[in-house]
């Protein structure tokens, strides 16, 4: 029998703590009318206390974990970004990254859910998540995103690393109950959040450095006529 080193719902607990931090920070910002920006570490500790405290024998995170099979790493990254922004930090995702996450989430959702829920005569795409070649496809997608400079590429590197560690250790570390790659990449909440994100308008791309405006040099003056 597997003995987990960590809680099998650790990622869910982390996500719920981050959401609680975001909510707490939002409420405080409203109450203080934006005068003081709460500190990140203090807020996370307060949120963790609230979320992990047992209620009817189960913590708030446990209540959420009961109704899900865990959340994806991209959703965790989105919530971490939103929480950082709420606390006054710049956040680590640019608009183009958010749009990439949105588009990726939508594409994965469309590929996964209709077939996994048995609509129509399609193959069950969910079972591919236990096979080997989807991670190769995921590696190619990640390479493309890294070449593009998208931060989603880094999130996917983290996702693949998490998933590989889980499967290689037979889920002994815990972190998440699933060993299916799909569960690390996408979840129903991410698909919902992806809908507005996919249609975000990004700022125009900055001009390449070599085309940036050169200092103006005065036009050569014609030699005075003799």
């Amino acid at each position: 029998m597997t003995r987990h080193l960590l809680s099998p719902t650790l990622l869910t607990e982390a996500l719920v703590v981050l959401i609680a931090t975001w909510l707490l920070a939002g409420i405080l910002r409203l109450a203080l009318r934006g005068k003081t920006v709460p500190r990140l570490d203090g807020m996370i500790c307060a949120a963790a206390l609230l979320v992990l405290m047992p209620w009817k024998g189960v913590s708030a995170a446990g209540w959420v974990a009961g109704a899900t099979a865990g959340f994806s790493i991209p959703l965790l990254a989105l919530v971490a970004h939103a929480t950082g922004r709420m606390l006054g930090y710049r956040g680590f995702l640019r608009t183009s990254d958010l749009r990439d996450i949105g588009r990726g989430g939508l594409v994965l959702g469309v590929l996964l859910y209709p077939s996994a829920l048995g609509w129509g005569p399609w193959e069950d795409t969910y079972q591919f998540g236990w096979m080997a070649y989807p991670d190769l496809l995921c590696v190619i997608w990640t390479l493309h995103l890294l070449r593009k400079g998208s931060h989603l590429g880094w999130i996917l590197v983290l996702t693949l690393a998490f998933w590989l560690v889980q499967t290689l250790t037979g889920n002994r570390l815990g972190l998440m109950e699933s060993t299916n790659l799909w569960d690390y990449l996408v979840d129903p909440v991410l698909v919902l959040v992806s809908i507005p994100l996919a249609f975000l308008k990004t700022d125009p791309e900055p001009e390449p450095r070599h085309l940036e405006a050169q200092p103006q040099t005065p036009p050569e003056q014609a030699p005075p006529a003799a």
Partner: protein
């Protein structure tokens, strides 16, 4: 080193590990259709067909036993034979189906006597063991390996009704005195809901199990759960038999190491039992076909007899559950001969049969009796054959 190069390096490492996993798979049961390169096709473990099986005993044997528990409503029984001559049974019971006080009850039969049923899983114990909210528990199936180690697959519900179910597993190494803590299986990407179990598993060659399970949310369809010999949830995978809303709640009967039939309860307006076949160990399945036997949207079960015939327990009516009958097929499910009624009473309910073929070849049939009790009918092949129509 630029950040981009670092990313490519990380990916290279991941790719290398992925390739290693591809050729030297870890975790996933080696025999499952969710195959990786280098995997052999799944093979069912079945006893060789013995045409004379069961004929050495000429005397008919038939016995009816009733298992009660101190609750108002009971349902969905299953049986296993952990040691030769010993039976173990589980079922769920409470004030009514789907009530929060429902527990999974357990009893064993030694020397023909059933022990007092005890609850082994409740919503409270499941909540404590799983560390997350569980509103109620439901369908449970018990099975045992060659060493007598018993495993219990059962349903927990956090939100909604039966379609909100997830599957959990626990094991006992001491004949059911103590059980390991429950562990949840993650088998569905949509909040891990709507995975249920009703009928027993088939053993795989080289260890492990394939359990017929089903999904009933938007679609209603049969699936297979592939477990390794330890029943570790981290290595469990599932595969689809077919999708849509034709039939569900499957019963899997292996004919030999690669051939099997699956009989399913109807999920459509066509009140027929459906049958599908595999020739490659469950990797692919034929489209479901009606068997010509009626099904009143009620559970069924089937088992292979020692001589290779199939035995089916079903409600022989397109409406209601007022009878329970046996049928036998000598041609792997193509045609069926109706056998004796096990129960028959107008307006009553006899439902959710579970069939077990014991090591000595005798058959044990457990079913819900009027929702008040679980009945176990034990009989041998001579008793069954004497009640089948004589072939010309």
């Amino acid at each position: 080193m630029t950040r981009q190069n670092l990313g490519v390096l990380c990916l290279g490492l991941i790719l290398a590990v992925s390739l290693y996993r591809w050729f030297y798979p870890l975790g996933t049961p080696r025999s499952s259709p969710v195959r990786r390169s280098g995997h052999s096709a799944p093979r069912f473990r079945v006893d060789p067909v013995d045409p004379k099986s069961g004929t050495s005993i000429v005397a008919e044997q038939h016995q009816v036993q009733t298992l009660g528990s101190s609750v108002a409503s009971v349902h969905v029984a299953s049986l296993c034979e952990p040691k030769p001559g010993t039976l173990a049974a589980v079922w769920y019971g409470g004030t009514r189906e789907g009530a929060r006080d429902v527990a999974v009850w357990f009893s064993t039969r030694t020397d023909n006597q059933w022990t007092e049923p005890v609850p082994i899983v409740t919503a409270e114990t499941a909540r404590r063991e799983l560390g997350h909210h569980v509103r109620k528990v439901g369908n449970a199936v018990i099975f045992s390996d060659d060493t007598g180690r018993m495993s219990l697959l059962f349903v927990t519900i956090t939100v909604g009704g039966w379609s909100g179910s997830s599957l959990c597993i626990k094991h006992s190494d001491d004949s059911g005195k103590t059980w390991t803590p429950s562990q949840r299986l993650v088998l569905s990407p949509f909040f891990n809901i709507s995975e249920l179990v009703k009928n027993g598993p088939t053993k795989l060659e080289g260890g492990g199990w394939v359990v017929p399970i089903y999904h009933e949310l938007f679609g209603k369809f049969p699936e297979l759960l592939w477990l390794d010999a330890t029943g570790n949830p981290a290595t469990a995978v599932r595969s689809r038999v077919f999708g849509g809303r034709t039939a569900f709640q499957p019963s899997l009967v292996a004919l030999d190491s690669t051939h099997a039939v699956m009989l399913c309860r109807t999920a459509s307006s066509q009140r027929d039992l459906f049958l599908t076949r595999t020739r490659d160990g469950g990797f692919s399945w034929s489209p479901p076909e009606p068997t010509g036997l009626p099904n009143s949207d009620s559970g069924i079960d089937a088992v292979r007899l020692g001589d290779g015939r199939l035995l089916l327990a079903f409600n022989d009516t397109p409406d209601g559950r007022a009878n329970l009958r046996l049928a036998v097929s000598a041609d792997a499910g193509k045609t069926w001969s109706r056998g004796p009624f096990v129960e028959k009473e107008p307006e009553a309910e006899f439902s959710y049969p579970f069939l077990l073929r014991a090591r000595d070849g005798s058959i044990h049939l457990a079913y819900t009796w009027k929702r008040e009790a679980i009945r176990v009918v034990s009989f041998n092949i001579p008793w069954l054959d004497a009640r089948l129509p004589q072939s010309p």
